[in-house]
């Protein structure tokens, strides 16, 4: 029972990491239909930001908290630069954005190698985040613990989703983003500067990748190729969740997380990955447009 519970929480936390990465994609891919393969490198930029800040501010906790907004800004600005230089020329060619941004991701990885060196770098996590919370000890002596860094990431995801939902629903920027997504031409005619809205959407989406990068320093390696391993899974979350829908991504991320961790527990990680893929293909047979669909002109 303890194991089932701790396994369930592991699944939830895998889902949280997936969601944190997919959240930015749900804006740039989901709302704007841009397949940004360099999203993983924005995550990397966020992680390296944490590393650089720690060279300046030695206190691990303080530097981690400061890293969150700065990584958001760094990755966000990289996103804006990418949007302005390349992507805005390619809005009518979504498949080509995939290829172009893959080229960009190659270049960014090499830049990271040239600046920070090929080996991974390390950051110190604040002591508070390397511990865990003990929930209870079961009869056979196995403790049920929840890792603090996982809780921190879960909290971060909840906050990010909350902020994003609020921003999309209640601010004028959010209204403009939704207007542009639903009908670009009409929005333009109504006086919304669609180019600027696109750039802002991209800023927020890429910035969220930066935040994911900060969170990932608590879990995994910080190196030039750290973004490439996770990015496909995150794309799948958005695809299955349904374009243009936050709630779809949320449900799918947690479902995939729990599915993967349960299958992995019963078999192996390799088998789990293959089964998750088969499940996704099967799901798309049933609902080819993803879990939730938004009726927009762009999806015709």
């Amino acid at each position: 029972m303890t194991l089932v519970l701790s396994q369930f929480f592991t699944g939830i936390s895998i889902g949280a990491v997936l969601l944190l990465i997919a959240l930015g994609l749900s804006l740039t891919f989901g709302q704007m239909n841009v397949i940004n393969m360099a999203h993983g490198e924005f995550i990397m930029a966020g992680a390296y930001t944490t590393y650089v800040l720690q060279q300046v501010i030695s206190d691990a906790g303080v530097s981690l908290l400061i890293a969150l907004p700065i990584a958001f800004a760094v990755a966000g600005l990289m996103g804006v630069a990418l949007e302005w230089l390349l992507i805005r020329r390619l809005y009518t060619r979504p498949l080509d954005t995939l290829l172009v941004t893959w080229g960009v991701s190659l270049i960014l990885q090499q830049v990271a190698r040239d600046i920070f060196g090929t080996p991974n770098v390390q950051t110190r996590a604040p002591d508070l985040l390397t511990g865990n919370v003990k929930l209870f000890t079961s009869a056979d002596g196995v403790e049920l613990t929840i890792a603090n860094n996982r809780l921190f990431i879960l909290l971060l995801v909840v906050l990010a989703i909350g902020a994003l939902t609020m921003a999309l629903r209640f601010t004028s920027l959010g209204r403009r983003i939704r207007a542009v997504v639903q009908n670009r031409d009409l929005a333009a005619v109504s006086g919304i500067p669609t180019g600027r809205v696109d750039r802002l959407t991209f800023f927020i989406g890429s910035g969220l990748a930066g935040i994911a990068g900060v969170a990932l320093t608590l879990l995994g390696p910080i190196g030039p190729t750290m973004g490439t391993n996770i990015i496909i899974d995150a794309f799948l979350v958005v695809v299955v969740g349904g374009i243009g829908q936050l709630k779809g991504s949320v449900i799918v991320a947690f479902t995939l997380g729990v599915l993967q961790s349960s299958v992995e527990y019963l078999t192996t990680l390799s088998v789990a990955k293959v089964i998750v893929f088969v499940a996704i293909v099967a799901f798309l047979q049933w609902r080819p447009q993803g879990m939730f669909t938004l009726r927009t002109r762009s999806l015709a």
Binding site: T2, L3, P119, N120, V121, V142, G220, M226, S261, Y265
Partner: protein, 414 residues
């Protein structure tokens, strides 16, 4: 239209048939290969050696440092007058962490550059990919990394540890510490799977129990479930054969789960000083490693090696076991050539048995029969300063036994 199509397809098929008919006159399998027509070029004042390492891709992390230490050895030898009066000219090729590329570059070094020997390769997969190239061209490879054993190519010299020089001593140490149960965690490739097979055989014969065995795909960074399983098993120790990035994620998760070196120590066989630096001592303090060399290994030869390496590549760069084995391999090759008084591959091989070298890790001796070297096994503890200090050693060099023939419990393995 259809008339044309038929005609063109017929013409194309004719080309195909003609091409096969024209050229199908090479030797059949089993007739004895005629491919070994390439000989190394030793006519000039210099001889070329090949350096075959990944300078790009995921393995570059480890392999660049190996390349650097090979270069260091080459420079030292050249400064001391070279080999048989000839200076060594190193030619570096990038294997790009991609096994077929390794095979391609090995062919290039042998056939185009006509090198006298090649030093390099890291992963077992890259070694397996180049092995047929060296065998069919009758050229020499020096392989400097600990590996899974069960191999003995006549054209490869293995200067890293085989299993009885690293894994078996690691298990002996755990047994001596009174650890009765172990959990096995590894990356999903040849080395961990073979190592774990050996560990299970050892455990069965030595009264230890293997409580579980888990593999993660190379590069995998999600260790929540594996850590849960490890924790629930309440094993006495963990034997870790993970590679590269996965180690970072594993140890971060391990610490978060409240597992420590005091309650459940981890013995790692792929974490050297360089990796400690990139994972962070926060997560690794007091965990164990099994190798044959540490930067802290005492002795004049090692002082000289560490000093020379840091002078050339930077004071913050640590030295590690594979780097040392690569450095040693160049000197061993030099000694073999000088004993044979020739660069000829067969003569060099014939001269190899019994050659010794006062290496940074201590005295090593080539065993001509297996083309491995005898090495002292050392268990180390990772310190808060990122260096590894020895807590136990085998006392004397362990003779290489790649097929574990001298261990009765390993009878069914190979």
């Amino acid at each position: 239209m259809s008339r044309f199509r038929g005609r063109r397809l017929m013409a194309c098929s004719a080309i195909l048939v003609a091409a096969v008919a024209l050229t199908a006159c090479g030797s059949k399998t089993g007739e004895g290969a005629t491919g070994a027509g390439v000989t190394a070029d030793t006519s000039g004042d210099t001889v070329k050696v090949g350096l075959l390492n990944s300078l790009s891709g995921t393995m570059a992390i480890s392999e660049v440092t190996v390349r650097d230490s090979i270069k260091l050895a080459v420079e030292e030898i050249n400064a001391a007058g070279g080999v048989l009066g000839k200076k060594i000219e190193p030619i570096s090729e990038d294997g790009a962490s991609d096994w077929p590329t390794f095979a391609e570059k090995a062919t290039k070094l042998i056939k185009e550059d006509r090198v006298v020997a090649v030093f390099g390769c890291w992963t077992s997969a890259s070694r397996k990919a180049v092995k047929p190239v060296f065998e069919s061209n009758k050229a020499l490879l020096f392989y400097p990394v600990q590996y899974e054993g069960l191999e003995q190519s006549p054209y490869i010299f293995y200067t890293g540890a085989t299993t009885n020089q690293q894994i078996v001593p690691g298990l002996d140490y755990l047994k001596a510490q009174g650890k009765k149960t172990v959990y096995l965690v590894g990356s999903d490739y040849v080395f961990p799977r073979t190592a774990n097979k050996i560990i299970k055989a050892y455990a069965a014969a030595n009264g230890m129990t293997v409580l579980g065995e888990d593999y993660a795909p190379l590069g995998s960074t999600e260790f929540g479930t594996i850590t849960n399983k490890v924790k629930a098993s309440k094993a006495d120790a963990v034997f870790n054969t993970l590679n590269g990035d996965s180690n970072v994620a594993f140890f971060k998760e391990y610490k978060s789960a409240g597992l420590t070196a005091a309650t459940m120590p981890v013995v790692s066989v792929s974490i050297a000083e360089e990796e400690v630096k990139s994972i962070g001592t926060q997560y690794l303090a007091d965990q164990l490693t099994a190798w044959n060399y540490y930067q802290t290994t005492p002795g004049a030869a090692n002082d000289k090696f560490v000093k020379a390496y840091k002078a050339k590549f930077g004071a913050d760069k640590p030295t590690s076991d594979p780097m040392e084995a690569a450095y040693v391999s160049v000197y061993l090759w030099k000694a073999m050539v000088e004993k044979a008084k020739s660069f000829d591959v067969e003569k060099v091989k014939a001269a190899s048995d019994g050659i010794t070298f006062d290496a940074p890790e201590g005295l090593v001796t080539i065993d001509g029969a297996t083309q491995h070297i005898s090495k002292t096994a050392r268990i180390g503890k990772i310190g808060a300063d990122g260096l590894i200090t020895e807590v136990w050693n085998s006392g004397q060099p362990v003779k290489p036994d790649p097929y574990l023939k001298g261990y009765p419990w390993a009878a069914g393995l190979s």
